[in-house]
Amino acid sequence: MSAITAQGLTRRFGELTAVDNLTFEVPSGGVVGFVGPNGSGKSTTIRVLLGLIEASDGVATVLGEPITHPERFAHRVGALIEAPTFIGSLSAWDNLRSMAALRGLPEQRIHEVLDIVGLAGREKDKASTFSLGMKQRLGIAAALLPDPELLVLDEPTNGLDPAGIVEIRTLLKSLADGRRTVVVSSHLMSEIQAMADDLVVIRFGKLLYSGSLSGLMEDAVEHVIAAPEFSADLPQLIASIESRNWTYTAHGDFLHIEVPAASSADVGRAAHEAGVTLGQLTPRQDNLEDVFLRLTGGTDAELAASRGQQRSPGATP
């Protein structure tokens, strides 16, 4: 059974279509990245799926239940929607106790989730004294209270420092056991690439890709980045590359040559034959962000300009 399915899911705010005819499927188990730039409609889609706002059109299910009846799946889903939200003057324990009471859960479960997120021993501290990373972990603890089959985390690494990001990433990967599906929305593609098994990629509310990360990365292009030691040698280097019919783009003195990474020796040889000493020779493979930009044909600004209109579909009123 799929964790989430959506067919033609649409949400309009007046004339603005924030989620535009989305059709995708999230498989059960593992980490699923819900990817798109800021304002692409990720949060709106999550809110629609969790029953916080109604869909304008389309059909969707969560854990096999229609999203029009969230009461049928709410007890099997944990969510951290946008920023973690707590009453700062309450202790971490009381904040979690309040959420556990709402779900009819015993207090023993609070100990368990605090252990999982590494906050055991800090439960008596007020939530307002927590660092951003600790607040994120507390938010994840609250989402884990019902021992959910589906964990939906909206931008869980927002505002964290690199160490905090690694910490959350490690935690999320450990949570995605065979039984549990962890859906992580983020505009940070490098983060998603580091933890996701599957991807749903959207932009301007439209679906760009749905499937495995490895499937998408099959389109990744291998480059060799080469730069002459002296700028004056650049024309000879370019001539040598062109003579071999290699595709390249120039970024100042740096040439991004589209050849398999294993061919960096060939580039070095070509430079040597042209009498050019290289200052840099680096094999590199496209990352998710590169693939995403290739998929969309440019940056947001470029695409918006080409569409002749500027819009921000993810912005909810």
Partner: protein, 280 residues
């Protein structure tokens, strides 16, 4: 939108009714120090302050009557005089309770907690119903504390200002109960009005501003332009009930109208909360 029909699953963890769970969850959040000490502290302070003003401003402790609207010693010497000040405290208490209910409701939107709450308990009527019950229980405790403080401070003040307390013993329990009822019901309706404005505006500051602005400004303006209907406005009606009825509005009419205002506020709140999107 169209839906996919699937088999309904039961909730294995929801062994207790949703309304009870919601009440327990809400109570943990309400019963935290700032609301608890703030609510009890402010109302106790007003009880003492207004009681003191009432006793200290008695023109003639032995006079049978005084200027219209001014409390006399004779008023205070009657059975139930021990809690006579409650009628005067009621409006201020109403503003405090309106503010507390508005803060407790709108802060869920301000903080974004409402998203988590609705995800965990998708039945919005249950969610708001539990909040109303929890806030009502809190208000009952606040009102009981106010009645206690008012009656406790009355005896030393009466001694200090030479008010005869002989008749205070007559039907003291009944007088206390009716005084408590007349104080509690309007204050609860003030709370419901605060909740309604908070649900509609989703901002505690705006909700408090609108509530106080209505009571102190709008009703006074209406009083100038259409004095005949002032006593039927929420502020006038609730004050009339707290005072045990007035010349313009009998106790029973005030109670009926107060309950109508409360029911209206609750219905509007539940309808709006049930049907509007959950956005911050």
């Amino acid at each position: 939108m169209t839906t996919t029909l699937t088999t309904k699953t039961t909730n294995p963890i929801a062994s207790t009714p949703g309304l009870v769970n919601t009440f327990r969850s809400e109570w943990i959040r309400i019963w935290h120090s700032s609301l608890r000490y703030g609510g009890f502290g402010v109302l106790s302070f007003f009880s003492v302050l207004i009681s003191y003003f009432i006793y200290s401003s008695l023109a003639d402790p032995t006079a049978a009557a005084g200027p219209p609207g001014r409390t006399t010693a004779a008023d205070l010497e009657q059975a139930g005089g021990m809690i006579h000040a409650l009628g005067s405290i009621s409006t201020l208490a109403g503003i405090v309770v309106l503010s507390l209910w508005a803060i407790a409701t709108a802060s869920d939107y301000d903080s974004g907690l409402i998203r988590v709450l609705v995800q965990a308990q998708p039945s919005r009527l249950t969610l708001l119903g539990g909040k109303i019950i929890a806030l009502s229980f809190f208000t009952v405790l606040l009102s009981a504390a106010t009645v206690f403080v008012t009656s406790a401070i009355a005896r030393p003040l009466a001694r200090a200002y030479e008010v005869d307390t002989e008749q205070w013993r007559i039907d003291a329990a009944v007088e206390m109960a009716s005084g408590f009822f007349n104080f509690l019901v309007p204050v609860l309706v003030w709370g419901l009005i605060g909740l309604m404005i908070a649900v509609l505006t989703r901002s505690s500051g705006t909700a408090i501003g609108v509530g106080i602005g209505w009571l102190l400004v709008v009703e006074n303006l209406i009083g100038i332009t259409a004095p005949d209907i002032t006593h039927l406005m929420p502020g006038g009606t609730l004050s009339a009930l707290a005072a045990g009825g007035t010349n313009d509005l009998s106790w029973s009419s005030a109670l009926s109208l107060t309950l109508l205002y409360g029911a209206l506020a609750a219905c509007i709140s539940l309808f709006a909360f049930r049907n509007r999107d959950i956005v911050s």
